[in-house]
Amino acid sequence: MELFLQRYVTYIFCGLLCALPASLSAATITQHIDDTHIGVGDLFAIVLTLDSEDVSINAIEGNLAFSDATLSLQEIRAGNSVVPFWIDAPQEKDGGIHFSGIIPGGYSGSSNTLFVLVFQARAEGKAEVFLRDGRALLNDGSGTPTSFTLTPKPLLIAQTGSGKQVAEDTVADTQPPGGFTPLLAHDASLYDGKYFLAFAAQDKESGVERYETAETRLPFPLFSQSAESPYLLTDQYLTSDVYIKAIDAAGNERTTVFHRSRLLRPNELIIGGILILLLLAYVFVRRRRT
């Protein structure tokens, strides 16, 4: 009995030490929902924030899933994200939400928005968003993986809703995307060494939805189909102005012009030179006759 008690005391002490919370060295997605009552038919937003206080991470990817019997995904807002460059912008795919992106320089912080999901409650019952799979990589130059989790936040959808049709934090986006500077480059590893433009605009409200481009030597651009970065230039002589229009999800536009580097193309220079020579010859001949 004595031995038992001695061991008992020792075990309690050791157990207390061992059972204490382990240090958090991971990335976590936290769900924030303002609405206290959600009923069938209601629209509501789940703000996903990224927490990484103890480590610096610079790349994340994941697949979120949600209870599709009770929830219907209406919108994904990724405009005001702490992730400046998406490899795959958050989008609904195979019944879930796929995303991957990088944070150059690393991210170590908490409660900064990753993206926002807007749902409509479809039916009464339990609902939740969960991380099907995902990974976060440390900002250590080697891409070392660290744990990546989503804090569960189960919801209970009531039979009757409040009739709310607009998510709480929806604000009319009237601002165009922010200014951006296209970068001209050519590299043997891409497009056979041809010139291309790299660009990325940011929109802090609804997010950049698409880009349109126009290459022209005239002052009036005619925007064509959607384009994306890297954009292979049609005019490899760089004699055209390139207009790049960033359009956000609310339809606001920001157009940036990448000005031509050269006025004339090589064949135009040759033709121009020949014309000048012909003109000079003509003038010379006229003077000789007079």
Partner: protein
């Protein structure tokens, strides 16, 4: 009822806990002709704590932890092991009768853990401050303030026992009633002539801190270069970004020293409120670091050098089987140099890094550089420009949107042509482009 023997065990245990700090009291060791074995370092003040510190010696190894609630214990052979903590950078955004504060996480190690933060508030620059513990969080909004009055704030870092282990530099904010400004109409479109300017909104962000005397400071906004400036002779810099739209931003700052070496970037994610001024102060860039040899003959000297703030105390750590700590003092130009005797190092690969401390501010550790202890000396040539060793897939000495675009093009595609070799040398050499390659690029990002 506990048995007598059990009671005795409990009493002995409690006595041990209460007396442990006293048993391991600090002593001076001044002799030059003996070695101190089985020494224990105890941060000052812990023995007077109402709680207790837990220190012990296990087989000649100092096991250090800050409290019984710590789950991590560092085992450090030898004597010269000092706990460290970095000072946080702090941002202040003024609002109507309030100032929103946020700060970077202080990193601590070798015996210290961050337990909580306290916000110090004063209406007088330099204090005295009234402190309130806000817990282990990275933001706090100070409310009930008087509009038009300047308030000054510092953030104290507390360890697990509540002792202050670091204090940030001061930032200020002047609350003002909302309204005014308002950022103009919306809708429609804007056309820029190639310049990167946010013409809408009207928020201002001011970043200030220490780098190296006369160094080039580059500020990135959402990973793209927003502005560059030059630090003063005292290594201090202040940069303003104006006319920003409201929203979530990540600001990064890095310095380039006189030898064209870049510092590790300092990154600060923050929410910018429209028509307000956000001040981010207390940035202390980690020192740059270089070595004179990529391989050093065991027993020869390896020169470790770089730049920090002027007259800073620079701590150099060599990560080998047994960690080696050394210190050097930077000169008026911020240049430091340390001759490392490689005799105690094992053959093989090692890494070294450094951090600076001046005027009560402590920088984080900077980037690591690796070297080999072998049988010959291989000198590293002095270069006027230094390109990122990885991530720079187009070879323009930058890692930026162009490299991202090229790598994004090859994402989930079969690599062909010259990109096969580029992926081998500049990315992770696994024959494909995935998230790891992007992570490497993000680490070496220059904007």
């Amino acid at each position: 009822m506990l048995h007598t023997a059990a009671r005795r065990s409990l009493l002995a245990l409690l006595l041990l806990l209460v007396c442990a700090p006293l048993i391991a009291g600090a002593q001076s060791y001044n002799s030059t002709n003996y070695s101190v074995l089985e020494a224990v370092m105890i941060p000052g003040g812990y023995s007077t704590s109402s709680s207790f510190g837990l220190q012990s010696i296990i087989g000649g190894v100092a096991a250090m932890a800050t409290s019984s609630s710590s789950s991590t214990f560092g085992n450090n052979p030898g004597f010269l092991h000092y706990p460290y903590v970095t000072t946080p950078a702090v941002s202040a955004t003024s609002g109507d009768t309030q100032v929103a504060l946020s700060w970077t996480s202080a990193s601590a190690g070798v015996g210290w853990t961050v337990g909580s933060y306290s916000v110090g508030q004063s209406t007088t620059s330099g204090g005295p401050y009234s402190f309130s513990n806000v817990g282990n969080v990275l933001s706090s909004t100070r409310t009930g303030l008087t509009n038009g009055t300047a308030y000054y704030f510092v953030i104290r870092v507390n360890d697990a026992l509540g002792n202050t282990i670091a204090t940030s530099t001061q930032v200020s904010g002047t609350p003002a009633s909302s309204g005014g400004g308002g950022g103009g109409g919306g809708g429609g479109g804007d056309t820029d002539e190639g310049e990167d300017e946010d013409e809408d909104g009207g928020a201002t962000v001011i970043l200030s801190g220490r780098a190296y005397p006369g160094s080039t400071i580059t500020v990135l906004k959402d990973a793209q270069i927003a502005v560059t400036t030059v630090a003063g002779p005292d290594a201090k810099f202040t940069v303003s970004l104006t006319n920003l739209s409201g929203g979530q931003y990540t600001f990064s700052v890095y310095g380039t020293d006189k030898n064209a070496n870049r510092s590790a970037p300092f990154s600060f994610p923050t929410y910018v409120t429209p028509d307000t001024t956000t001040t981010i102060g207390g940035i202390f860039l980690s020192p740059t670091i270089s070595i004179d040899k990529s391989e050093v003959k065991r027993g020869d000297t390896l020169v470790i050098f770089g730049q920090s703030a002027a007259n800073a105390s620079v701590t150099i750590v060599v990560n080998s089987e047994n960690e080696i700590f050394a210190s050097a003092l930077s000169d008026a130009q911020g240049v430091y140099l340390y001759n490392l005797d490689t005799s105690p190092l094992e053959y093989g690969g090692h890494k070294t890094k450094s951090k600076g401390a001046v005027a009560g501010e402590i920088s984080p550790f900077g980037q690591q550089v690796g070297f080999i202890v072998g049988t010959k000396n291989v000198l590293i040539p002095v270069l006027s420009t230094r390109c990122p060793t990885r991530g720079d897939v187009n070879g323009d000495c930058k890692v930026n949107l162009i490299d991202f675009s090229i790598v994004a093009y090859w994402y989930k595609r079969t690599l062909t042509g010259t990109f096969i070799d580029i992926e081998k040398t500049m990315l992770n050499a696994d024959g494909k482009v995935d998230l790891v390659d992007f992570s490497i690029m993000a680490y070496y990002w220059t904007g």
